[in-house]
Symmetry: C2
Subunit: 204 residues, 2 copies
């Protein structure tokens, strides 16, 4: 709760041992967040769950917010990597096929740990601005933008950043809503998301 702006860069994990500690802290945080919520995710609890001491935690993260930020960056990097691979390897296919693959990847990731996904989304909006975080975010938007651009003759919307953001927002919104309501049938949800996206993009 203390509002310090120290942002000291901490140690980088060099040896295998410390890399494990680092990863354990991130995973412990994710587990607490998804199982017990934001309030339960305090640094003492995180350290305990990770099986390390608080001191170790603060050797790799300048403050609690940095742990959250790193979690978001990791999730977005993972999604971004998958999306980039998909977009790059399917340039001959139709918009519908390619969008289907992206939606499949996105829905799967968000539904794998829905509580966590919702919380990270919320945290992203409240965390102090972090250039790395913003970059990971923009990468995803620009991949969607690239797809729209490549199929711009098939859609009734301009292939702009706004349209890309709308696409992402629709996916996130629908998955959030569905998981909150207890929906678990991923394929059906994917199909509905596809309907919404294609309906938005194709018809004016």
């Amino acid at each position: 709760m203390t509002r310090k702006r120290h942002a000291k860069p901490r140690k980088q994990p060099l040896q295998a041992r410390s890399r494990e500690t680092y990863a354990a802290i991130l995973e412990a945080t994710a587990r607490i967040l998804e199982a017990e919520g934001l309030e339960a995710a305090n640094t003492n609890a995180i350290a305990e769950r990770a099986g390390v001491s608080v001191g170790s935690l603060y050797q790799y993260f300048p403050d609690k917010a940095a742990i959250f930020a790193e979690l978001i960056i990791a999730a977005e990097t993972e999604l971004g990597d998958m999306m980039e691979a998909l977009v790059s390897s399917t340039s001959g296919q139709t918009l519908e096929e390619r969008l289907g693959l992206l939606v499949h990847a996105g829905v799967a990731q968000q539904m794998a740990r829905p509580q966590l996904a919702r919380l990270l989304d919320y945290l992203e909006a409240t965390l102090p601005a972090d250039p790395k975080l913003q970059a990971a975010d923009e990468r995803i938007l620009s991949l969607i933008g690239r797809l729209l651009q490549e199929h711009r003759d098939m859609i009734a919307r301009p292939a702009t950043a706004t349209t890309a953001l709308d696409v992402l927002s629709i996916v996130k919104g629908m998955v959030d809503g569905a998981s909150f309501a207890g929906e678990t049938r991923e394929r059906q949800l994917e199909a509905r998301v596809m309907t919404a996206l294609l309906g938005y993009l194709r018809y004016s």
Copy 2:
């Protein structure tokens, strides 16, 4: 942070003076939430901003979560009232016209205080289950469901609870995304939301 489950019903505000205190506490909480975020919204700060003492705060709310819950209920009741009036008074009009009115009301409410709207959405998902809160929620969904039902021959989707939830999720998602990105042109946003909704509902 203390996890008590007392849920004592507190005093009801009877006199004009206490009704003002009650309202001041709610408004102070909303202002702090939207300007400084969830962490800053502690009971001492809320009381101070409201110009009352902490003791007074706890005369009307059993705990901090109850203040948040009341804020959500108030917002959803307001939206529900507007929606109900619109749905009831436009039974002769087209789906497009009626949906446009609902979207206008919903977008306006969420864009009036976007930070607050996002936070309340998040809080709703984490607060202890409250029947009143759930009722307010279901009322909005059932109004959307009623509209879908009345125009079921105009849409390609089943007029089910799932479809109603999808509609609500698309609106919330798009407005959240847009306001997070700094979008302020409400009419344009509304138009895009309408495109997405009609695209989703009309085309399979």
